[in-house]
Structure formats: C-alpha cells, structure tokens
Amino acid sequence: MLLTPDLVPTIVATGASARVNEHVAPRFRVGDRVRVRNHNPTTHTRLPGYLRGKIGIIEQDYGVFAFPDTHAHGLGEKPQHCYSVRFTAREVWGSLASDRDTLRVDVFDDYMDLD
C-alpha cells in the first residue's frame, strides 16, 4: 500500500489495534495473586526486567491481544489475555520504597503464574 495524502485521515482516525477477535480462555481472574515468571529471553519481550519474580494482584482483564514476544519475530500473534496487575512499590524496589505507592503494569498470560 502507498500512503497518499487522501489516506492519511483514515489511517490516523482508525489506527491499528493490537486486539485479537478470538475467544481465548483467560489464565487468571481479577483478585488472583500472581508471581511474575523469571522470563528473560534475549528476543523481544514487554516484560520489564524489574518485574521478574515479583508478586502482584490481578486488577483488571483487558481482553485478548497479540503477544509481543512472538509477534516481533514473525512467530504469529499467539493471542492471550493482557491484565493490569498491581504491585506495591516495596515489592518491586525494596524496603526503602514508599509503603503506600504502587505500580500498575500491563502483563500477559504467558508472563505469570498463580502464586
């Protein structure tokens, strides 16, 4: 496709959602306590290093999306659920961190296990 000026407004207004319209059973439910896997590939991932091995709580299920780890390498969408997971600052950064502050990170099915 050639991006000509007449196509620009549609592209801008529509974008390209990463949602996948497929029914995939979620691995977790809101309220579940999870442990982030020690997932450390040399290939693409959207799991930040600071989260590996940390304990969190599933706050929201955003639905089914393409999985970046495979989608970056021509290995398909591997659609799965993406969740907003709550972590305390202390859990992530240690005892010197605030005991009130939290992080909310978007985490895929394949990055976590039930704790």
Binding site: A16, G49, A72, G74
Partner: protein
C-alpha cells in the same frame, strides 16, 4: 531482551530537565523521520513489535546518547533492509553521495 532500553528503576540517569514549551519537532529531519513510520509500516511487512525490537538492538551507548528520532531512523534502516525493500549498499551509496554534495 534485557537490553539498554529496559530502563525502569535504573539509578544514576540524572535529572529530567524538561524543556519549557517545546515544539513538536526540533528539526526538519525529525518530521520526515516521524512520518516514515506510518509511511513504511503500510508496505513494510513488519509489526510494531518488530520495530520496537529493532530499536532495542541498537548499540547501548548510542541508544542513550542519540536523540529520540535517531532511534526510529536506526530501526527503519534495519527493517527495510531485512525485509528486502532496500539494500545496505543502496543506502550507503546514497548517504555518501549526499554527504559529498553537502560539502
């Protein structure tokens, strides 16, 4: 990839120093680099994820020192060559030619 881009929580990177009332683009070439994302995405055959990973593979020192759109430029060059739309030689020859002309 636990590369240089994986910056969350890193210490020692210094103050943020936000620029007041900064323009959307600081240089003309940044405008072209910005537009090349959508411009190449529509034919390129790569995903946004692959684009991001291409940036993640940059030399770490260059990654930290380069301005933002230089990251995109590095990614475009890699992706367009890897997906067979241009060759390294074509690009290098043209860059050399333009450099000669601008002196």
């Amino acid at each position: 990839m636990h590369g240089i881009h994986d910056l969350g929580g890193m210490h020692g990177l210094g103050p943020i120093n936000p620029e007041k009332d900064e323009p959307v683009f600081h240089e003309d070439w940044e405008k072209r680099a910005f537009a090349l994302f959508a411009g190449t995405f529509v034919f390129g055959g790569y995903t946004v994820d692959e684009f991001r990973h291409e940036i993640e593979k940059m030399d770490p020192a260059h990654y930290l020192e380069a301005t933002y759109y230089e990251h995109w430029l590095a990614a475009f060059e890699g992706l367009l060559i890897n997906h067979g739309h241009i060759t390294r030689k074509e690009l290098d020859d043209r860059i050399a030619q333009l450099k000669k002309e601008s002196h």
